[in-house]
Amino acid sequence: MRVLIVEDYAPIRVNVAQGLREEGFAVDAAANGQDGLWFAQSQNYDVIILDLMLPKVDGRSILRQLRATGRKACVLILTARNEIDDRVNCLNAGADDYLVKPFAFAELLARVRTLVRRKYDQVVPLIHIGDLEIESAARVVRRGGRVIELTSREYMLLEYLAVREGQLVTRSEIWEHVYDFHAEGSSNVVDVYVGYLRKKLEAEGESRLIHTRRGQGYWIGEQK
């Protein structure tokens, strides 16, 4: 999943971005409101972590503009202001969640994951597709009881396909949601990683779960 963090205070921005990447998210980071707005309007992020007090363009303005343009990214407000009025105003303005500084990174991570599940209509952090089981909280993948070891990128790809089970996912969508801004672009990198994933999921001769629709994209699910 792809996350944008817009935070001018470098220690928070850099470390939260690092922590999220280590947890399997594709993360872009902006140090001011102007850059943050540009990022948010040019990409389809799953979650935007947004500080309120930003240079150049403040967080509230960014939130208003995103909602005005119909952007569906989940927005988690990050701020030092803890007044009820501030929280209510932000939530009424279209934010999906609110976290007060200082915060535990584990809590931030849990809230981001919750927002992702909500976005893809997942009720619990456990995905079943046939005999495939994905525990998103623990990042554990099993098929028929067999634990499958995946790299971070492979897991991110599998998770994205899984939350859109049965839906056709284009290569560009995969690119947007699994790779961050700084990832090296290559036209077939998605195909390559899909190949890696298939190999691991079908290592013991299990049935295919990731299917190709030529010229359009991929979809995951049991072949009927």
Partner: protein
């Protein structure tokens, strides 16, 4: 004198009314007393005329025409009339039978003060004594003519008739009158109080309403204001002053809340940074180098928080005038240059350079620590917030009014009407809380307090794209007259 205004007004009314009534009553009593005494004296005079008309003087003795009259014959009341006749030498010629042989010494009393007066009669009761001279000349109030039948009385040998009458009845009348007046005054006072009370209450109603309105105002309702247009004239100024006070109180509370919120905010952000670094570092096993980097970042943040808290403490001490100003000889030029040198590398990295406009030999008596604090903040701000072409101008000089030091930098987007806010605590031109600068928006507030502690002032201006801060000190050059 405390107590309710209503009670005080009613008591004042009672006091005023009783004073007026008692005064009027006293005057009335005095007038009536004078009249009654005059009437009494007239009665005595009538008695004397009657006595004189019955007088016969034969062979050197005095006899009343009809013999010895009992006093009651003469008395207009039941009290006997007492009289004495004296010749011109003061020898007693005759007196009323009621007196017997007793001499009440009226001659002496009359001779000492020949006016109608109160005396003590034989039984020590009060009496009124009047004297009359009997001659052959025309009768008037004090001269009674003799009857025609006694031509042998020589006119040059007048007789003195002293007549006294008990004033028991008069005194009783006056006594009753006095108490009657006291009773009437007291009753009138009480009645006026009773009648006035509802009017006083009604008159005080606006004040009571005001008092209730003020009582409703507390720290949570400082937005309420009193409507002075509806207030009585006498207390309108109180309303206006109270409204002013409420305005200032509300502003003070707002700034206090803002200050507390700002302090919390300023500390929360670096604490959040610390926590993020530590949380992520501990989330999984890392190399020693990674831990070292994380710890170094934590240390940097700790130093920032330390700087913020030091500034807050310094500000609190300056606010409370607890900074001991220690004046010494200070070379301003030297201090300015030294302060800049410590920052010149950082400024150079940003492409900022400094132009000096310093007078020579600026030696003054001042506190070098406070001056250094001010110079450091001014130069740091100028270097940090300078716009292109990134040239700062630092000037210092002394004139008749004192010492002036100024720092100026290009700054295009600071409107002139917001310039005063640069001295507000935690104010930043850009409202973001990025950690550029260690002062968290406290630097210029500190400078202002430091300038005040030095007896000087700080002035900020923004004109023609230049932001300028000038420190003015009432300190003259050392060694000048």
């Amino acid at each position: 004198m405390s107590g309710s205004l209503q009670t005080r007004l009613l008591l004042s009314l009672a006091l005023g009314a009783s004073t007026v009534l008692l005064g009027a009553g006293g005057l009335l009593y005095s007038l009536i007393r004078v009249e009654l005494i005059a009437e009494f004296d007239s009665a005595i005079s009538a008695d004397a005329r009657l006595i004189a008309s019955r007088l016969e003087y034969q062979n050197g003795s005095i006899e009343l025409e009809h013999g010895d009259f009992s006093a009651s014959s003469f008395g207009l009341s039941s009290e006997p009339v007492l009289y004495q006749f004296f010749d011109s030498q003061g020898h007693l010629l005759s007196q009323s039978e009621t007196l017997g042989s007793e001499d009440p010494h009226w001659w002496k009393i009359w001779h000492a003060r020949p006016v109608a007066q109160f005396v003590r009669s034989r039984d020590q009761s009060r009496a009124r004594l009047a004297g009359f001279e009997l001659t052959s000349s025309e009768a008037d109030e004090h001269e009674v003519s003799f009857q025609q039948s006694q031509p042998s009385i020589a006119p040059e040998k007048p007789l003195t008739l002293l007549v006294a009458r008990s004033t028991r009845g008069l005194d009783r009348t006056l006594y009753r009158l006095g108490w009657l007046l006291v009773g009437v005054c007291g009753g009138a006072t009480a009645l006026s109080l009773a009648v006035s009370a509802p009017f006083v209450r009604s008159g005080l109603r606006p004040l009571l309403a005001t008092s209730a309105a003020i009582a409703d105002i507390d720290s949570k309702s400082l937005g309420q204001r009193l409507d002075s247009a509806k207030a009585p004239l006498e207390i309108r100024v109180v309303f206006d002053r109270l409204n002013d006070l409420l305005d200032r109180l509300a502003e003070t509370f707002r700034r206090e809340r803002a200050f507390s919120a700002n302090v919390a905010h300023e500390l929360r952000t670096p604490l959040a940074g610390l926590r993020s670094i530590i949380d992520v570092a501990l989330a999984r096993p890392r190399s020693t180098d990674e831990y070292a980097v994380a710890l170094a970042e934590c240390l940097t943040i700790c130093l920032q928080v330390e700087a913020i808290s030091e500034n807050l403490l310094l500000l609190a001490r300056l606010d409370a005038d607890e900074w001991p100003v220690a004046k010494r000889e200070v070379d301003l030029s030297e201090l300015l240059r030294t302060t800049w040198d410590q920052r010149s590398h950082t400024a150079a990295a940003r492409g900022v350079n400094l132009r000096w406009q310093l007078e020579s030999n600026i030696l003054i008596l001042s506190d070098p620590d406070l001056l250094k604090l001010i110079f450091r903040n001014l130069l740091e701000n100028a270097a940090t917030y300078s716009d292109a072409p990134y040239e700062i101008v630092a000037a210092a000089g002394i004139d008749e009014s004192g010492t002036r030091i100024s720092v100026q930098n290009p700054c295009a987007d600071l409107p002139a009407d917001t310039v005063e806010r640069v001295f507000h605590r935690f104010w930043r031109h850009d409202e973001s809380r990025s950690a550029t600068g260690l002062n968290a928006g406290l630097g210029l507030a500190l400078c202002q307090e430091a300038a005040r502690a030095l007896g000087g002032s700080l002035l900020a201006t923004s004109e023609n794209g230049q932001f300028r801060i000038e420190l003015r000190l009432p300190t003259c050059r050392l060694g000048s007259d």
